[in-house]
């Protein structure tokens, strides 16, 4: 079982790869809309990537009102 920190780290790496950000440039407390310059639809794309990676189902509502990686990681962690 992953720890929350591990999950967060994996999400940061996946997001950096998917949105072509420099590896290591993203941080847990970052606002992903702002740091990555993405819109709400692109955030949903990220969800699909996370589902494949973690082998979980992550309904759209899990990102409602979430804008930082840490909270997103908590939502993922709860479903692992």
């Amino acid at each position: 079982m992953r720890t929350l920190d591990q999950t967060t780290q994996e999400i940061l790496e996946l997001a950096a790869k998917h949105f072509k950000a420099a590896p290591g440039s993203l941080h847990a407390e970052d606002d992903f809309y702002k740091t990555l310059g993405i819109d709400s639809l692109q955030a949903l794309e990220l969800l699909s990537r996370l589902e494949n990676h973690f082998q979980i189902e992550l309904p759209d509502y899990e990102v409602q009102g979430v804008s930082d990686f840490r909270t997103l990681a908590e939502r993922v962690q709860a479903r692992l």
Partner: protein, 570 residues
């Protein structure tokens, strides 16, 4: 379609529709690409009436209010119809709002019943704001897991009365819905929409963009939004058409749905339309040079032939692969909720995909003008719909003035806000706050806003006053939030942004620490509500006797600053 001029209410019209097309499918519901159910008009009735009976047994009466906070799905529409059957007034709320915002609006609306989904209820019931809302006496929750703590709510699935409910008739002037156009922080703007508003809007819209049995409408915009309520529920249902729900907005499933359900119409906000354009353009760019040349040639032929009007069969033949990706039956993309850039509209039209671009606002019963495609004009928002009187108030030398509207579709007023209503509807004319002019062909062109607000590409109305609360207690002398275009009218509907105007204390400077504090507070706002720039102002703000900022006067003073120099990024 049903002759809606003969009906008095939404409930009455849908009741007849359920009998008229009883064997046809009215709803498809998919989840992540897998179809979970399809419901005929008869089955829809069989699902709705026991709920209506249950509501009546629970004391719900004609004129009572019920709120729905749900994502787009069959139970949204079933619940709405059950409530209309009982003669109730619907309060559709945005499921994307924060729980405390939803409670604020629930309280303001005076609803006694709330119908929602379990994941939403989980957050709503845990919110401290719940305790201050006493008007909600019944909560129905859909799809709750078997052992879930429902926190005094009742399972929607078990709300089944036995026996026939009594149909409660309503008059055309009775309230059908209270639709919040914005204002969760300052003044909630609850538009009181009558049954007549919806009946007349539906007649007007379907005269240009008809539905018929066999039409599949893809419902993506939230159903609480006036557009999806009309074209994703009332419009298709009164014409025997079907609505497709996906339970997700992820691009890959949306793309798949077009082909799978051979979608006829879809409504999108500009942001999604632009996203689609980007995806298509990337695919065109990847074509090998030879194929690319052929594609360009075919697109040019299509452009030449469709200059005066769309010729869908020809476009589908010429640009077969593009149309196949959209299912091959797409009649038009309806775009609304915010202003769309002409280049985006033109991109789709050149591919033979008409975009029904228009202009509207909740207060006017959704659409006021729509492009009739004869010919397609990307540079305007079309002509007034049948039954809409539109005039330009106090036009300037360039004939630009405030757009005002008179029609049977204009709301009755704002709930509990007689003063605001009197300012907004003057002698029967709705003051839209938008600036526009008519061209020589009778097409409306828009040139910015008079109001201190922005509309995002996602179709969200954001009022500057609502955003200000996030900065309460900011360690500066004074601050105020403005729409940049309100200070510096730009005659444009694109690139709208909010700015935070700050007056620092004597001797104070905009340190990195202060910037960080502003950024942190800003980030607590939901992303589309955030301010995008800071304006430093080194004079006292004009105040009323009760120490409220006189925004108009402050904006006037700020206007003297050079916009580009004044705004620094946050």
């Amino acid at each position: 379609m049903l002759d809606l001029s003969k009906y008095s209410s939404i409930g009455e019209a849908v009741r007849d529709a359920l009998e008229t097309w009883s064997r046809d499918v009215c709803l498809y519901e998919s989840d992540r690409g897998e179809e979970k159910q399809r419901i005929t008009y008869r089955e829809f009735k069989q699902k709705a009436l026991p709920l209506a009976k249950w509501l009546q047994d629970a004391g719900f009466q004609g004129g009572d209010r019920a709120s729905i906070i749900m994502t787009n799905q069959s139970k949204w529409l079933i619940s709405a119809y059950a409530m209309f059957y009982c003669g109730g007034t619907l309060v559709p709320l945005d499921y994307k709002l924060k729980p405390e915002e939803q409670w604020t609006l629930l309280k303001h609306s005076g609803a006694s019943v709330l119908i929602t989904e379990y994941p939403i209820w989980r957050q709503l019931s845990a919110s401290p704001a719940r305790s201050s809302v006493v008007n909600i006496t019944t909560v129905l929750v859909t799809e709750a897991p078997a052992n879930a703590d429902l926190s005094r709510a009742i399972r929607w699935e078990s709300a089944q009365g036995t026996g026939q409910p009594a149909f409660v008739p309503r008059n055309r002037q009775d309230l059908a819905c209270i639709v919040y156009s914005s204002g969760t922080g300052g003044t909630p703007k609850g538009c009181m929409m009558t049954h007549e508003n919806y009946l007349e809007q539906c007649i007007a819209l379907t005269s240009l963009y008809p539905f018929w049995p066999g039409v599949n409408y893809l419902s993506i915009l939230p159903t609480n939004h006036a557009i999806d309520f009309m074209v994703g529920f009332f419009g298709p249902f009164t014409c025997g058409a079907a609505v497709v729900h996906l339970r997700t907005l992820r691009p890959e499933f949306v793309r798949e749905a077009f082909a799978k359900y051979q979608i006829t119409y879809v409504s999108l906000v500009p942001l999604v339309l632009k996203n689609l354009q980007k995806g298509l353009q990337a695919r065109f760019d990847e074509l090998p040079p030879g194929k690319r040349r052929i594609f360009e040639r075919l697109r040019n032929i299509n452009k030449a032939f469709t200059k005066r009007r769309p010729i869908l069969p020809l476009s589908r033949l010429l640009l077969k692969q593009v149309h196949a990706a959209f299912g091959g039956k797409l009649e038009a993309i309806i775009v609304g909720g915010a202003f769309t850039e002409p280049e985006v509209l033109q991109f789709f039209y050149d591919l033979g995909i008409p975009v029904a671009n228009g202009y509207g606002l909740t207060e006017a019963g959704t659409a006021v003008t729509v492009n009739d495609l004869h010919p397609f004009r990307a540079d305007t928002v079309g002509k007034p719909l049948p039954g809409m009187e539109v005039r330009i108030l106090n036009p300037d030398a360039e004939r630009i003035g405030q757009v005002s509207v008179r029609s049977k579709t204009v709301m009755a007023g704002y709930l509990n806000e007689p003063e605001l209503t009197a300012q907004t509807i003057v002698d029967g004319w709705l003051m839209t706050g938008d600036m526009g002019r008519f061209d020589s062909n009778g097409h409306l062109q828009l040139f910015g806003r008079k109001k201190n607000m922005i509309v995002t590409e996602e179709g969200k109305n954001v009022y500057a006053e609502d955003v200000e609360q996030a900065f309460q207690g900011l360690p500066v002398k004074e601050y105020c939030v403005f729409a940049a275009n309100y200070i510096w009218p730009s005659r444009s509907m694109v690139g709208e942004q909010l700015v935070l105007v700050i007056h620092l204390e004597y001797g104070q400077s905009l340190t990195d620490e202060l910037r960080r504090e502003i950024a942190a507070r800003n980030n607590r706002l939901i992303n589309y509500k955030r301010v995008r720039g800071i304006v430093l102002y080194d004079d006292d703000f004009p105040l009323t006797a009760s120490l409220k900022i006189i925004r108009v006067a402050l904006a006037e003073r700020l206007r003297k600053l050079d916009r580009d120099h004044a705004i620094s990024t946050i």
